[in-house]
């Protein structure tokens, strides 16, 4: 009898290292941030130093007392200190001739709010590091409070839906684009429905971080905060891409490009309707989100077209 060999997904071609994390760790069932995290050392290798702070990944990364849920070198710091601590590590190792990759791993709350100043500072100084933000659109570790990455109208525990309020009143800060406007050589967005794309970006970021700052923004929906079933995380990621709610792109040395083009984008309503946190939206509000998505996409498209033209001209 011939045993049928199950073909592994293509992302496995990028794995150079065994899983560095313990099974049965403290991430919630169905957490997409867990997959975001586990993938990093599998692609980048284990000779990295991870830097993190209180967030959903902290119970796993920080560990408790003398134990942790992984085998990596790790530096845990205050929420205001991720990119700055990473700067200190990076500079010292470089001066000492120690070859390594510094990888920051934080949620969107740290990256876009309390840790934004050091993040922006490290990017401007072009510090040699990879900063990975897993975006679950709020402070999920502390119980689903709003961050500046929480989308408009989303219900959170600090932007509730009530008689006088319908979720978050303001539009989210689009952090990856803000980072791309810093003088850095690599910025990318990624998500878990497109693992090969994510792995490629991890590799590229590692390479770029040998000479400067690289940033990857990974859309990682939280099953609790998004009010979805624990098996629906990847489906939400895929729908976010299909509707252009979360376009996949990268900026490399000033040139923007889409790494995955959606030929026939679905209306954003299809994405909103599968996330419980948007269940209270009426048609007018959905239309408003659609407008926001279209505008964001058109800005990216313009950047892609303009910088591609510039690249071609430069080559001629």
């Amino acid at each position: 009898m011939v045993e049928k060999v199950k073909k592994l997904p293509r992302v496995f071609d990028y794995f150079v290292e065994k899983d560095q994390f313990a099974g049965g760790n403290t991430f919630c069932a169905g957490c997409t941030a867990e997959l975001t995290l586990r993938t990093i050392p599998r692609v980048m290798g284990k000779d990295i130093v991870m830097v993190g702070t209180p967030c959903c990944a902290a119970p796993v990364l920080h560990g408790q007392n003398l134990g942790a849920w992984h085998k990596l070198a790790y530096y845990a710091c205050v929420m205001t200190g991720v990119a700055s601590s990473a700067s200190g590590l990076s500079r010292y190792y470089r001066k000492s001739g120690i070859d390594t990759t510094i990888v920051c791993f934080t949620g969107d709350g740290d990256a876009s709010d309390v840790g934004f100043q050091p993040l922006s500072g490290a990017a401007e100084r072009n510090e040699h590091m990879v900063y990975i933000c897993y975006d679950n659109e709020g402070y999920m570790n502390t119980g689903n409070q709003r961050s500046s990455s929480t989308p408009i109208y989303a219900a959170t525990s600090t932007t509730p839906v009530g008689k006088n309020q319908k979720g978050k009143p303001t539009v989210a800060k689009y952090l990856p684009l803000i980072m791309a406007l810093h003088p850095v050589s690599y910025v990318a967005t990624a998500t878990l429905s497109h693992m090969e794309d994510y792995a490629k970006k991890l590799l590229k970021a590692k390479e770029k971080s040998k000479h400067g700052f690289a940033y990857i923004h990974v859309f990682s929906p939280c099953v609790i905060g998004f009010r979805i079933n624990s098996d629906a995380g990847i489906q939400v990621c895929r729908m976010a891409v299909r509707t252009n709610y979360f376009p996949l792109w990268e900026m490399e040395d000033g040139v923007f490009r889409f790494t995955h083009t959606v030929s026939d984008p679905r209306p954003v309503k299809e994405y909103l309707s599968i996330c419980g946190k948007f269940s209270h939206l009426n048609e007018a509000e959905i239309a408003e989100v659609q407008k926001m998505v279209d505008e964001r996409y058109s800005i990216l498209k313009a950047l892609v077209e303009t910088t591609a033209r510039k690249e071609t001209e430069n080559k001629l």
Binding site: Y75, S84, G88, Y92, Q117
Partner: protein, 400 residues
């Protein structure tokens, strides 16, 4: 045996320049820079050294003090010798990071150029900034003049990185009074400082964060482990007292300058009354004490150099048996209606016995602590010693 004097370079430079010169001599690996009045000259001078090829350090021009402290702490945990400098508002902005530095037992050395703190906007001298961080687990030293800035920074690396200590050290000097006033100072030769600090290389190496090794810094300390780490931290602080006295002796034998370690006892022999001071006001006070001594008045001075840990044992020894004691504070102790250092000296009452204790608050926001002010303090202490009624707390510059 008289030791041979070490060679040195004599220069007339400001207190801030002294700090930068001393840091250069200690060869830090990583320096974080962020300017703030009255400290800016320190970071400017360090970048000048770097630009001129006189300092081989990674210079991180951070975007704020919080990042300054975070970056040097991490570099220190990775194994580096590090430095940063701040003052007042900047110190407040790095508060969370500073607590982490102490908890990590990272031997960071920092200069804090004392300046009044926010609330009432004040670009002027005062020690309230150092008081605001007294209980977060840093060692704190307060110095009197420019030469002491140089010598104490070198001593601070020796102390911070000692295997038995492994704690961050903050060196305080008065903004404006010391930061901008130039004095002739002796700058040791870098080879001599190398030799002096080489004793650290003979000690066991502290734990370092190494890439590829399964180890972390900053684990959650739970219950018993947290308590144990706090206990060890406190024990290290206690060890720092005798260690600092020993380092002062060792440094003096090497370079020829002694400061007394935790405290300096000035003309305390046979003194019936004592004035306790710290920082640059000590110099003024010493001249007043000298004059009073010439007039036959039995008065002495004790300068607090090490503020954290608090030199309880040495102070007890020197303050025992006096008739009255005054403490000069350049800050206020809210809730106790007195100066903070006075409050701590007062806590020694069970050991030193019940004698009149007087708190003098002076020198806030660049109000000069003048010779007449100090003469007045000594008059008050003397009167109290003679059994006359006295007021516990005096805001010297608001009197008369």
């Amino acid at each position: 045996m008289v030791k041979q004097m070490r060679k040195h370079e004599t220069r007339v430079i400001t207190g801030n320049a002294c700090a930068a010169y001393a840091v250069r001599l200690c060869r830090p690996d990583v320096v974080a820079l962020y300017p703030i009045t009255p400290q800016s000259e320190v970071v400017e001078q360090l970048t000048r050294f770097k630009a001129d090829g006189l300092l081989d350090a990674e210079m991180i021009e951070v975007e704020g003090e919080n990042s300054a402290m975070n970056s040097v702490t991490a570099a220190c945990v990775a194994g580096g010798r590090v430095f940063t400098a701040t003052a007042s508002y900047g110190l407040a902005f790095m508060y969370d990071a500073m607590m982490q530095t102490a908890g990590f037992r990272a031997p960071v050395v920092m200069v804090n150029v004392n300046r009044e703190i926010p609330g009432i906007h004040a670009v002027s001298a005062g020690q309230q900034d150092l008081i605001s961080v007294r209980d977060i687990g840093w060692l704190q030293i307060i110095v009197e003049d420019d030469q002491e800035i140089i010598d104490t920074i070198i001593q601070a690396y020796r102390l911070a990185e000692d295997y038995e200590i492994q704690l961050p050290v903050m060196i305080n000097y008065d903004g404006y009074y010391l930061s901008f006033s130039a004095e002739a100072v002796k700058i040791p030769l870098i080879e001599d400082v190398d030799e002096y600090l080489s004793i650290l290389k003979k000690q066991p190496q502290r734990l370092k964060l190494v890439p590829g090794k399964s180890m972390g810094a900053g684990s959650h300390g739970l219950l018993q482990t947290y308590t144990e780490l706090r206990y060890k931290h406190m024990a290290a602080m206690e060890r720092a007292k005798a260690k600092f006295d020993a380092i002062d002796k060792e440094y003096g034998d090497f370079f020829g300058r002694y400061y007394g370690g935790q405290i300096e006892e000035y003309r305390t022999d046979g003194a019936e009354i004592i004035l306790v001071t710290s920082g640059s006001a000590t110099g003024t006070a010493k001249t007043v004490i000298d004059a009073a001594r010439e007039n036959g008045q039995k008065v002495g001075l004790v300068k607090i150099r090490m503020y954290r840990p608090f030199p309880r044992e040495r102070l007890t020894k020197v303050l025992q048996g006096r008739k009255a004691i005054g403490v000069l504070d350049r800050s206020v102790g809210f809730g106790w209606n007195c100066g903070p250092m006075y409050q701590e000296v007062r806590a020694l009452t069970p050991e030193i016995g019940k004698v009149p204790l007087l708190s003098f608050i002076d020198g806030l926001a660049n109000m000069d602590i003048t010779k007449p002010n100090i003469e007045r303090m000594i008059r008050d202490i003397q009167a109290a010693a003679e059994g006359k009624p006295y007021q516990e707390t005096t805001w010297v510059s608001l009197e008369e």
